[in-house]
Symmetry: C2
Subunit: 480 residues, 2 copies
């Protein structure tokens, strides 16, 4: 698989041109590429394998909270899309329309789902009658399509992979609780599995999902100081269900509205992993989402016994449950090291004649390049500790970076200065008027509210733009 071009020289230094560095890493690590369908990606094995690990992890977390998986159609009839006014306004301009099926022109256009609230509500309107039919706590793993004008690998593409959870509840409180519960599931997964910290909270009024009453968002900070909206959980109240005429009768035969949530996590998260953890040598994968946790690289493999011993080690580590591979190709160890680093494999094990003589191997961490000598007798247990340490260290370094890139501003000139340096988030107060946000955005070259801060004392009682009484404190940031 490996080609000689695959060397660190093909990667633009990260701090020289971050956008180019990102593109280079995606290409050289063979994560995805553009297909012949404009704006749509081919998810290649190296990229898709990361997604599979994220899926497995999230899906397990979902199921522990009682989520059931389903699959609803790819196509949505135009009349369904139009049932909820805010929703159609938000999505209609960016959908793809099917107008012909087989040899015939369709009587009604069908769009390829940009998201599936309308399909879930349509199904529930036909099947939910009684309190006994509630709650519905459903999820699907699928792709959606939005006709974006500009695209970037993983971050924004016309078609992307995600999961969309949709739930329906008998009470407002239960639905609100589920919205927040799934928001916390996302938070846990970002921290524990992706080793990515973030700021998080509710979106400002005008930034909410089309049709939602509340949107909770996770905003991770990329290395270039920009925020990435990384996962969202929405509370719809009874707006959507009412629009679809979903009603249920309680034990006393009284008719009620039902309450809805939805929540989504996409392949954007792979972009976040790249941009939070990557370095000048390429990708750096947190062990928990690394399709290969360790690559064994034999040294002087032509010498007698080296390949044999390396393969015994491979079997031993496989048996112990590691995702491990060996590179016994004819390339030089230097090339092999470079490739392992490009792919972000968290550890490599170097094993040569001298190591074998000493009954040891050298484990090299991808994140710090630290070399750790481990006895061959202990490697099958010690490697797990090393991987867990890497996972933890990567998270802690990302936390330090995040904490070091949150500023505060009370006056507009501070705000402008902070964003000139592209440092990260700025905590600032705001009257809640979208027009003021628009002015700040213009003055800072793009910074807007990312999420509200509701559990801290406000640093000012005035809007940073208009000076009128502040309604919110928020994290502001430029974003992808």
């Amino acid at each position: 698989m490996a080609k000689e071009k695959k060397l660190v020289e093909n990667i633009t230094p990260r701090d020289e041109d971050f956008a180019q560095w990102y593109t280079d890493v995606v290409r050289e690590a063979e994560l995805c590429d553009y297909s012949s369908v404009k704006g749509c990606l081919n998810y290649l094995p190296n990229g898709y394998a990361i997604w599979e690990l994220i899926q497995a992890d999230l899906d397990k977390r979902f199921k522990e909270t009682g989520v059931e998986n389903v699959y609803l159609p790819t196509l949505i009839p135009e009349n369904l899309l139009e049932k909820e006014a805010d929703h159609v306004e938000g999505f209609a301009p960016e959908v793809a329309w099917v107008t012909h099926g087989g040899m015939e022109r369709l009587q009604e256009r069908l769009c390829i789902r940009p998201t599936s609230e309308t399909l879930f509500c349509d199904l529930w309107s036909k099947t939910v009658q009684s309190y006994r039919d509630l709650p519905k706590v459903w999820n699907q793993w699928n792709s959606v399509l939005r006709w974006e004008k500009t695209t970037r690998p993983f971050l924004r593409s016309r078609e992307f992979l995600w999961q969309e959870g949709h739930t329906l509840h008998a009470t407002y409180e239960e639905a609100e609780e589920r919205t927040i519960q799934m928001f916390h599931v996302y938070e846990d997964c970002y921290k524990e599995t992706l080793a990515i910290p973030f700021v998080s909270g509710r979106k400002a009024e005008h930034e909410k999902f089309a049709g939602a009453q509340d949107t909770y968002t996770i905003e991770a900070l990329m290395h270039d100081g920009k925020a990435l909206q990384s996962a969202t959980s929405h509370f719809f109240g009874s707006g959507f269900p009412d629009a679809f005429d979903i009603k249920y009768v309680d034990k006393n035969n009284q008719l009620h509205s039902a309450y809805e949530t939805s929540w989504g996590w996409s392949t954007r998260s792979i972009g976040a992993i790249i941009m939070v953890h990557g370095d000048d040598s390429g990708l750096v994968l947190p062990p928990h989402v690394a399709p290969v946790e360790c690559r064994i690289i034999p040294i002087a493999q032509h010498k007698e016994g080296v390949l044999d011993r390396a393969n015994v080690l491979l079997d031993e580590l496989k048996k112990a449950g590691y995702r491990v591979k060996i590179d016994d190709s004819e390339k030089s160890p230097g090339w092999k090291f470079s490739e392992q680093e490009m792919l972000g494999i968290p550890t490599r094990i170097e094993i040569g004649p001298k190591d074998i003589e000493k009954n040891q191997v050298v484990v090299v961490r991808r994140d710090t390049r630290e070399k750790i000598i481990v006895s061959l007798d202990e490697i099958a247990t010690k490697l797990r500790d090393i991987l867990e340490t890497i996972q933890e260290d990567m998270y802690n370094r990302a936390v330090d970076f995040l904490n070091g890139h949150i500023d505060t501003a009370v006056e507009m000139d501070e705000m402008v200065e902070k964003f000139k340096a592209n440092r990260g988030f700025v905590k600032a107060c705001w009257c809640g008027d979208p027009e003021c946000e628009g002015e700040v955005k213009y003055a800072t070259g793009g910074a807007a509210t990312r999420c509200l801060i509701e559990d801290e004392e406000m640093i000012s009682d005035k809007c940073i733009w208009c000076g009128k009484p502040a309604k919110h404190m928020a994290y502001w940031g430029k974003s992808y």
Copy 2:
């Protein structure tokens, strides 16, 4: 979730009207239903959970043979679909066309993939240059869309879920070997996981997949004597790769054609499970694909200690790795039994005051209704044995049914008589002319060749229709 309607009375007896029985089981077990998009299904939790188990099993088998998962776009530009002549002829009449994206009319129509050979070949035409880039052994789990006129749940719907594997090889032999290897993976999974036997082999010339040189098929026999084409593996030779101008250079810098395969398994397999194993009380799931392997049903649960002990058992069985649930609702045990049977849950455990006194439970097999008394001390290990026995017995019964429904015919009148009784497959010889097959089909009310029999001595040297020299012996059958 359970409604009172959910009783065996809602199911048409299987031997009275098989088609209606099938529809009833799908509905009452809440496996799937039709959506508002004509011909497209909603896969509901009970149905999708079966698919998840099949996916996990197949995916593991694939990866053990070196398969890597990817994801390619949902949309195919019209010019790509048209590159391989047989392929476009086969699929163009049954695709859905996207003509508008966002607010604009597209310059070129895009179809929703009916299958993705064209996309894989397009990608490889840009990325495969050298022998070092081969083989590609890729698969994707996705949905495809074919604009079918008549549909039936799981068996034929406009959109369906499947996996499509696509591989590219340096030599004819390697590709042919991979085609047969994946065919065997399918055979193993049908037998071992779905407990479904079958006849299998190559398709006759005119029955092959559009563009394929060889198609290998698995043909399972449903309870009504009809065959279901259950999974297929295709060898394309270099036809497709050549049409897409995929060439690679070998070690000596010589240019060569590449060779391709593809292989698919769909949610049809859920239909096969229903129609092979189901009975008058509803679904009967083989334990290996049963989302719930055991449902605990407390007897006289209002009596002191019963629910507590049942819940202790639940925890114990969960801990031991079983997919187990408890039904502690207010319904009567009779209703609960009926529902567990309808859902096809392989075992139920009845636990009441007397059982607790005797430190035992009653395990009831879904397939045979046999009651097995097991000590509470041993249930956590014994239940696995019972489930494995059920799995094995279900397979063996299905094998007996299959073997008892394969006839032979040398003369046409025998053939006609056998198919009048709708017994199953008939082994008969044939000259290979599609016109003769057409005549047989007309005379038998629908029976055609399902697959060729190439490892047995021919039972006749003459075509059963025209009497000219026989070229093939085949299994003939009516089919879904």
